[in-house]
Symmetry: none
DNA sequence: CATGAATGAGAGTTCATTCAT
DNA sequence: GATGAATGAACTCTCATTCAT
């Protein structure tokens, strides 16, 4: 579509993306066909092709929306007077929610998509997100160490470790299944390693 | 196939599984069709159906073979006079090799398979393998603590943490890509947390 | 469109026909879709349907324009003091130019159109053009014979023969390809058969 | 199909080609879809793809069969004691039959195919056939001149002229339509130009 | 008049699965 | 047991044509 889309078209495109998102959450990526999305949106075959030319393109745009929304949620939740520990716990709590949602998540679809599309480094949004998350956690830990909330010798190593643990939990949730207890224990372990073993219940 | 198969059949079945394994390593799970396997084995379409009725069944049997072989490798490599640290390092070294092989691994296929077939807990080989590995690592750490090689307050927590880190590295290798350095740093971090920060180079 | 069209509409219609002509020259007839013409004209899908209801209709009108223009060109080029041989050579020279333009011609589109639309004799513009051309050439030869320029026993037969040779060259140009030399030789042969074997170079 | 086909497959392939030939004669080339051929052969969609992967491939093989058969017909019809004039007349008679069959011919399909597939010179079977035919006619005329049957100053030129006339008639038969009389007149004209104006009726 | 979003029929193609030999 | 031809359901994608605005 080289031409500008009117307001109506923009809304329809958004509607398709939101509907497709649900389909991807249910079925993952590979299994989803253009017809699945057509049916879910209750539009015509050709109609979908007016907006998107493949499931890959749709999925990429779904992910773009997704990460924008995620950014919003995260920045919203950081208040001025929150301590580093507060924010970290908040972050982990969000992750836990996500982890336990299992079938209500794009996780599986994202993994499948990346299996199918071995993207070059610079196109790899997933990698960018991962690296960005590591950076943020690192800063957080540093701030916590500075304020005396955390104890940590190797902030970057710990940040990376946290992210790999979270990745491990994420994929495990999809394959072997994990319980809330498992997540709690891991997160408790993370906090403990920072010297802040607070109450488990808080998550 | 409720009936006995002759020697010839057994060999053919094994041949199919070994060939299929290569196909799964190349293409993952979902992309593989019965025809792919038929072509790779250079047998007839109908012939394959005499032994297996779906790619899922074939894959399950490939995984069964795989884990049997893996067990052998691991127990072979444990000598009588090896210390806990030796064995752990050996284990991590094996994991590293596996992680960096990327395209020569069943990892992606396994994940894809589990995405598609949400198995009940008792059928979930992956979970069994995960739990077994946690147990072994835990015992290892306990042994190391007993012998003074390691320092660790929460052996089980640490074992679990190690496994989730490994899982995180495994999936990351398939999606965002990881370098040998990344693996080294994580493994170094693991050892350091046990109080055994030896030389990185050793892996 | 039974109603009168304003000046604006007439111009737009002409614009569409001229643009469509280029499209037909590039792609032939069958391959051209309404969308191709819509895109080339940079108008709306529905807009095109206001003027034309099918590619066939458009093509027919393009051909109508085409033959009107061709007539003009031909009558323009006949001056009062030109001899029969002059005019014939002029005609053949025009044909040669047309033949060698190959991809810049409606020829292929015309053939495709007539393949698809087996028109009744009275609707067949192509036939009318062919017969008219035969007539003109016949008159020309007769004039040449009268003036002593040509020698010919059977003017009509020769005229027909010339036209079929030209048709043969035209279709051959589109299918097996012809060189300038081939055309020259054929035209030289035509002139020679009329006893006017002038210089080949003249064409 | 990289493997050898059994006797059965060969027959089925031939059956498909023969059926497809009829379809091409009816509809030309472009209009014909894989489904048309599937329906005509009364086989399954997938079944056709076992033998051919496109209408182009099918058409090429149909043409190959066609030209093989044509060669056979031609060489069969040349007897030892036939004169050059006999053979030429025989040839023209065959052409006439072909020309007047109109809708029972591959001509249109062949032209359409070559419009769509602008083949390089060496792949262009049509060109090879054309050149071969010119050669044969030339030899025939030379033989006729030698035996005193024909009079001809430029055998090659005449041979080419004959072929272009035949091409012109062929395409005209498809577009503007021609009558038996038209063909007779042209062929009579050809023979007359060779000094052998025999009886028209003979064709 | 003009627009362009929407429709849906239909073409191409692939593959798991069956079945006569 | 083994073969491989055959089937047909399901997918992708394109386009003429319509119609509300």
């Amino acid at each position: 579509m080289g031409y500008d889309m009117g307001e109506k078209s923009v809304q329809k495109k958004k509607f398709i993306l939101e509907t497709a998102r649900k389909v991807f959450m249910e079925k993952g990526f590979k299994k989803v066909t253009m017809k699945d999305i057509v049916d879910a949106c209750d539009i015509s075959r050709g109609g979908l092709y007016l907006y998107f030319e493949s499931t890959s393109q749709i999925f990429l745009e779904v992910m773009k929306l997704e990460s924008e929304e995620a950014d919003d949620v995260f920045s919203d939740s950081i208040t001025e007077d929150a301590t580093a520990a507060d924010i970290l716990i908040l972050f982990l709590r969000e992750q836990k929610k996500e982890l336990l949602r299992k079938n209500d998540t794009l996780t599986q679809a994202i993994y499948e998509f990346y299996f199918q599309n071995k993207l070059s480094k610079k196109d790899n949004i997933l990698k960018k997100q991962f690296d960005a998350a590591v950076k943020i956690i690192e800063k957080l830990i540093e701030a916590g160490v500075a304020s005396g909330e955390f104890y940590c010798e190797d902030c970057m190593g710990t940040a990376r470790n946290i992210m790999f643990v979270l990745e491990g939990l994420k994929i495990s949730a999809q394959t072997i299944g994990i319980t809330a207890e498992t997540v709690d224990r891991e997160m408790f372990y993370i906090l403990k390693s920072l010297g802040t073993a607070e109450e488990k219940a808080e998550l």
